[in-house]
Amino acid sequence: MYRYDEFDRQFVAERVEEFRDQVARRLSGELTEDEFRPLRLMNGVYLQLHAYMLRIAIPYGTLNGRKLRRLAHIARRYDRGFGHFTTRQNLQFNWIRLEDVPDILAELAEVEMHAIQTSGNCIRNVSADHFAGAAADEVADPRVYAEILRQWSSLHPEFTFLPRKFKIAVVASPADRAAIQVHDIGLQVKRNEAGELGFAVWVGGGLGRTPMIGRKVRDFLPEAELLSYCEAILRVYNLHGRRDNKYKARLKILVHEAGVDEIARDIEAEYEAIRARGALAMPQEEIARIRAYFAPPAFAQLPARSSVFEAAKADSRSFALFAERNVAPHKVPGYGIVTISLKAIGAPPGDATAEQMELVADLAERYSFDEVRVSHEQNLVLPHVRLDDIPAVHAALAEANLATPNAGLVTDIIACPGLDYCALANARSIPVAQRIARRFADIERQKQIGDLKIKISGCINACGHHHVGHIGILGVDRKGEEFYQITLGGSGDETCSIGEIVGKGFSSEEVVDAVETIIETYLGLRQGPEETFLAVFRRVGEAPFREALYADA
């Protein structure tokens, strides 16, 4: 894990003092709310329906026990005892007093955390594969590059007042677990034929009201050129992105309107000019210095098969289910990657109480080399657990209602905060997620259905990523009543696709039945249990689903 040195510590400390000064000027009336808004957003402070919300950066979703305990402490002391993990691997507190924010930031700084650029029209927290450093299929640890990008983008003097927000995601494996193609810049770390590290680069992806899949502009960008190239992309966007309409201001619109060929030419020209100056070429020593922070922990040499793990599966049905869904293969024999579901049946997706955070902190320290990850699917991950230890981890998680064996199943739902919290929302998201989860609570039924991603947004801004849900649900306001539009066939992985609207929306009463109808239709169409919902949809299209949903209409 990256650790702050004196420079990083002073940087964050100065940022806390800068924001303390800004809050004081707001509270004294020297700054109007209009003048203060962009300043507070740069530090992750939103004004929501009922209170201020503070969004804390969790760079590339990596935490340790100490940081997680501090988040638990903040939840208890300054909020209502819980926090909400987001689809960009951050944490939100929803009941914060503005005057407490500087103190909260100071408490975060003590554990090397901050809220810089978690909102606002700037380069946001860089996200990465939540299985980084543990996944069997990665060519390098993507967090090395995410950290390099984090430092470069922190209070960047040129790119702090962009036309709109700007999101970067990094993976280092062919399987995309970070939805890179729906980010402004998506990076896939890869090796070329000579074995050198570099990046495939996509630009102009994004969700929101105009969902777009990113376009590939480089198949292989040499490792040392990462920042020169990103600076070129940002400069082209800063100068040419639309500023006349905030709904058309993202990079995706520029790419769409100008055409990817023209934008790619502009980027290349800017890149050549930046490269000629040479200031941003990454020295190998600097890459090595950052890489050293992400060196693999001291894994033990273990047999690939654990008799303790196998015995527990044979003994306990609940453990067997957990092992099947929530334990992923690790690159080191004898270890597993454990997904901690924050989607207990009936609970708000992504929420964790202070006590749950502390338990996970304990387990990370004891069993996972003090590492915890936040996934963009709003779950937590213990990335490096010995198979021998997983039964004990499972038992401890089960005590805290954290062992729901539903990773990747129909009840592992992404949902935005929706109208329960958010000033932008048109409809509630969390209660719909809860009702769907209850309808499909039977784990045997979930297993029968198999891999299925439901994603729910409470408005067109698409924070719940409904466009890339296998089943996407979008809340809309129809004459003061909550309605839900359903899209099918979206996917945020390496086969990225945007879901298609299946037909007219459903009332809050009807929407769970509609989801069930879609799933029953899928079960009737599939050629075998191995044919997933997404595979069936891609084979047959939306017609059979539409017929089933609107047969009586």
């Binding site: 003097p157 040129e158 007042f161 400069r235 100056r277 941003l280």
Partner: protein
């Protein structure tokens, strides 16, 4: 309005910033809007006095490339402080065209953005906002002074020892 240049307020600004229709005086430094400068270029260049151009955010440098070296003042505008285009234009002027004349920010120039502007190469700030003027005069500006990335004024601030290529402190730069 006050002009803050290279670390202090100045009262002896020799420049006349002309609008689209104001006549060009026979002598003295003048700065003109970009379009007018390009239209009247020949006459202006023949004038024996320093020349400047005012470039609105979004106008860019197209057409000016061959004249940048002869300019002594370039004014870049911030119509709203949330419009960040002039930061990029400033860096391109300093870093690509090696422009060494005065680079002045005008418009919505506010205290929380001052260091960003200075790091992008502005050495003169035209400030209307009374609170910002007072804060600068009284040394009450609290802004992060440490930087992770290279920008336009790095030759003015030596790197901090300790391995990282770009870290700098610009505490003395405002």
């Amino acid at each position: 309005m006050a002009l803050y240049r290279n670390g202090s307020f100045v009262t002896d600004d020799p420049w006349r910033i002309l609008g689209a229709d104001e006549p060009v005086p026979p002598a003295g430094p003048v700065a003109l809007p970009k379009a007018r400068f390009l239209a009247e270029r020949e006459a202006l260049v023949g004038r024996n006095a320093p020349l400047g151009v005012v470039i609105e955010a979004g106008e860019g440098l197209d057409g000016l490339e061959d004249d940048i070296h002869r300019l002594s003042l370039i004014v870049l505008t911030f119509p709203k402080y949330t419009d960040g285009r002039s930061y990029s234009t400033a860096r391109i002027l300093r870093e690509r065209f090696s422009y060494r004349g005065e680079l002045r920010a005008t418009g919505n120039v506010l205290r929380d953005q001052l260091r960003f502007m200075v790091r992008c190469g502005f050495d003169a700030l035209e400030i209307v906002h009374e609170g910002t003027i007072a804060a600068l005069k009284e040394g009450r500006i609290k802004l992060v002074s440490l930087h992770y990335q290279p920008a336009s004024r790095d030759e003015d601030i030596p790197p901090i020892a300790g391995g990282r290529p770009w870290r700098r402190s610009s505490a003395g730069l405002l």
